[in-house]
Structure formats: C-alpha cells, structure tokens
Amino acid sequence: MNTALQKVDQRKAHITLRVNGEEVEVSFAPYKTLLEVLREELDLTGTKHGCELGECGACAVLVDGEPLLSCLKLALECDGASIETVEGLAEGPELHPLQAAFSDHGGSQCGYCTPGVLMTAKGLLDREPNPSRERIKEALSGNLCRCTGYQQIVDSVADAARTLRERGVKA
C-alpha cells in the first residue's frame, strides 16, 4: 500500500457544490468522501459519523433532494450537486418544523444521530407529506439511534408533518 502511495497523484481535486443553497468551491484530497469534505474542508460539522462504512446513517445528507450516506459518496462525484445538511434546515432564526418537533417531543436525546435522522425525514416529507407511522419507520430504518428507541423520533416526524401540512408549505 505504501509503495502504491508513492506513485499515486496526490494533487488536490477541485469541485463546485451547492451547499444549503450557496455555491461553494472546494479543493480536497481526492480520496475524501462527501462526509470528509463537509466536515473537514467546509467546517460543516453538523453532519456526524458513526462508522464511515454505511452501517449507521449518522452521516445522511440530502444530495439533489435524496437522502444519501455522505460517508460512501465520493466528493469527486458531487461536482455540481446540490447538498442539504442540517445546518441549512432552519430558515433564519426560525427552526424547521422537524427541528422544532424533535426538540419538543424527545426526538433528540444525545443528538448525535439527529442530523442524519432530520435530513432523512426531510427527504421523506418533501416527497410524502402525510406518511403513516409505518412509513416513517421504514424511511428511517437506515438511521441507527441508540438513545430514543425511535418512538419519540416517529412522534416528532409525525408532528412535523402535521405542522407542515397545516401550513400548506413544502418542507
């Protein structure tokens, strides 16, 4: 592996991303995943990591609207993509209904899985404004949580969906 290292081109890669609505250019070592670029190059540490192998969901973000695992997404493949992270969820000082519901209804305890869960839930509600509890559980079945036993997470998503529907706004 180290002999291979000598031969490999270690120049940085350069891409343009749209992160939480803002265009950013970023240079990075090309082996970095989207997770590493968000956290280490863009200082967006709201996105967490629990395994870096696609086994926990802590790093979930929306890429072009779809919940993906940033730990298994080559940053190189995100050139031109639109990324949404937990930092972009609130509008100004106003919490997104999902955020408000999670902090009011026990959806977040230690908070570590929360960003991944929130972004996954947003991906769900953007497509399905009125999901059943079963559908919410299915959509979140790729996000491990160690604190809540999921019940208050499901409560929170259901509550946020209700709020969003009442507002008649797209999440």
């Binding site: 995943t33 192998l53 919940p67 695992l69 730990c71 298994l72 190189l76 299915e138 079945s141 790729g142």
Partner: protein
C-alpha cells in the same frame, strides 16, 4: 475516521469510453457505480484499485425499456427499480428483493448492476486490515487458509445479493460490454461457486443491462432471512417463480436460493419436482426438504449455521404459499418487518 486509500479517478461519458478505460487499466482498474459495496471494501483495504472508473456520468445506464419483457439499465438505483411500476406489477419477486436490500439510503445509492456484481462476503474477510492481520489473513485476500473450513481448497465467502436469486428465478439475462464487443448471458451463468472467482464477468466487461423476458401468467416472490428489518445482508434468500394452469397445477417453476453458497443456487430438482403438481401443503413441504438438502450455509455470517439450514424448508414454504395465493402478509410483517 475510516478513510479511502489514494486512487486515480476517471469519469467516462459513454459505455464505450468506460470499456476502453477499463481495458487500458487492466487489473489496476475497477468500476464504481453506487459505491456502497466497493467503498467500504476499499476503506477496509480489502480492495485497493489504483484507478476508479466512475459510471456516474455514463449515458444510458438508467434506461428502462418496456416492450416484450422489460429491460432495466444496470445503473438504476435499487430505489429506482423499486419505484418502477412494471417491476412491481409483473416481476414482484424482483420488487420484493430490491426493496429489502440493505437500508433506504443504501438503496438510494446502490445500483442494480452493483447488487448483481456484489463481492462475496465473509466475516473473516469483511474486516479491517488490522483485524485480518490478526488472523493471518485469509484465502480471499493475502492469505492461504479459508478459516471458514480450513480444509477447504476454495474460498467459501457467501453470495449475498438479494436481486440475483430473484432475477434468476425470473429467467433474466444480463448484457456485458467490453472494448472487444458485447454478449448476453443468462444471469445464472454469471456466477461461479467460488468465493474468489465468484463472477464470470471478465475484468474488462461492464454489466450494462438486465433483460427480463415477458412472463405472462407467472407469479414470483422473494423471502429474505436476516436478523433485522434493515441493513443486514441475507442469511437466506428464497426466490420462487411459477406459471400455473387454471386448475392450480404448476406448469413451470424456478426456485433459487441466495446466501447459502458462493453463488445464487438455482434448485433444478426442487423446481422440476413442482411441475405438474398442485401446491398443496405436502408438495410444499417436500419441495422445502429438497431445497434444504442443497443449502450449505457457512459459519461466516450472522446467526447459527445449523439453524439457518434447518429453516430453509419454512422459508421455501413461505415463498410457495405466497405463489399459491395464500395471504402471507402477517408472516411477511413478522419476518421482514415491512409490508411487501
């Protein structure tokens, strides 16, 4: 943080260009589609390609052609496969299999082609480099012994794809394209019963399409055994497809097992046994016994190996009862934790 090793990255725009690049790189190059199988393996240094050739911008790999039968681009994500109406309506076994791969996020990323080419798995092999060093490595990578069965001459890593058994039961073919040309191959022939040389795809070939035949009058299903309702690879997959006469007797049948061998296991005997018979409880039970005799689960994944063999007839039974028309929804919820 688990990190990828250094690599070169190429991003072709067409299948032809990708095939040329792959040929030029030789064994140093690997294709990357969804990356959900390859990247964890690279992070654990099980696979360390010098060059990744990305299929992300290759045109045409997401094409769905609905004519006589159905052709699915290999670059469709599993979520896209699940969302394809024709799959859900006509090829239910594939729909059920694709819907149970890994987790929702991984299905949003992983592709149909990637699931068919999935590296065989083994918990002596799917480990970090340091862990593998601690056991002196294994036959599949850098070592000599297969620790699953130390007398084994071949690697016993297990085929863990969900969609392949389902597609083989549906008599699917795959299209493979290389710089030298292309060929179509029965999906069953894509695999070898060898944990290392598990696939007959040549290193310079790209799997571009899955071709499903028109299947009038067939019904199909897929049942998956795993510990949890999400994430886990199969410990047993049972795919079944059958065409029945109006009187309920079986005209044609194909039963395929997954995750009990280094390749998806078409059960010729059990399938032949069903032909001409009505799927009553006795017939189903006997088919289950025939199926179990072929299953060789290994102690290299989750749950007890003898138990996994013992429950094969039950799972074959679930599949055949569903084909027969039984209401299996409650059982499905208990096993799969979701309605399918």
């Amino acid at each position: 943080m688990m990190r990828l090793p250094w690599f070169q990255y190429q991003r072709p725009a067409s299948v032809a260009e990708a095939a040329r690049m792959l040929a030029a790189e030789g064994p140093r190059g690997m294709l990357i589609a969804g990356g959900t199988d390859l990247l964890p393996n690279m992070k654990r240094r099980q696979q360390t390609p010098a060059t990744l050739i990305s299929l992300s911008r290759v045109e045409g790999l997401k094409k769905i052609t609905n004519g006589s039968g159905l052709t699915l681009g290999a670059g469709l994500t599993l979520t896209e496969v699940v969302g394809t109406g024709a799959v859900r309506e006509k090829y239910r076994g594939l729909w059920q299999a694709a819907a149970q791969v890994a987790s929702p996020h991984l299905r949003n990323m992983g592709t149909l082609g990637g699931n068919l080419c999935l590296d065989t798995r083994c918990n002596y092999y799917n480990q970090n480099e340091e862990w593998r060093e601690a056991i002196g490595y294994c036959m599949k990578k850098e070592g000599k012994t297969c620790w699953v069965a130390t007398a084994s001459k071949r690697c016993l890593a297990v085929s863990s794809t969900d969609t392949a058994p389902a597609l083989i039961a549906l008599d699917a073919k795959v299209r493979l394209v290389s710089a030298a040309g292309e060929r179509e191959l029965a999906l069953a022939s894509l695999y070898n019963n060898d944990g290392i040389n598990y696939i007959t795809r040549k290193p310079d070939e790209i799997l571009t399409e899955v071709v499903l035949p028109q299947l009038d009058g067939w019904s199909s299903t897929y049942w998956k055994l795993r510990r949890r309702g999400s994430f886990d690879f199969p410990l047993l997959g049972v795919a079944a497809a059958a065409r029945m006469a109006p009187d309920g007797s079986v005209l044609e049948a194909r039963v395929v097992l997954g995750a009990v061998s280094s390749q998806p296991l078409p059960l010729a005997k059990a399938s032949e046994f069903l032909v001409g018979k009505k799927l009553n409880d006795e017939v189903i039970a006997e088919a289950g016994v025939l199926a179990a005799s072929r299953a060789k689960p290994m102690d290299n994944t989750d749950l007890d190996v003898y138990w996994r063999k013992e429950v094969v007839p039950s799972f074959v039974g679930y599949a055949l009862r569903e084909i027969r028309g039984d209401d299996m929804r409650a059982m499905r919820m208990r096993i799969s934790r979701q309605a399918l």
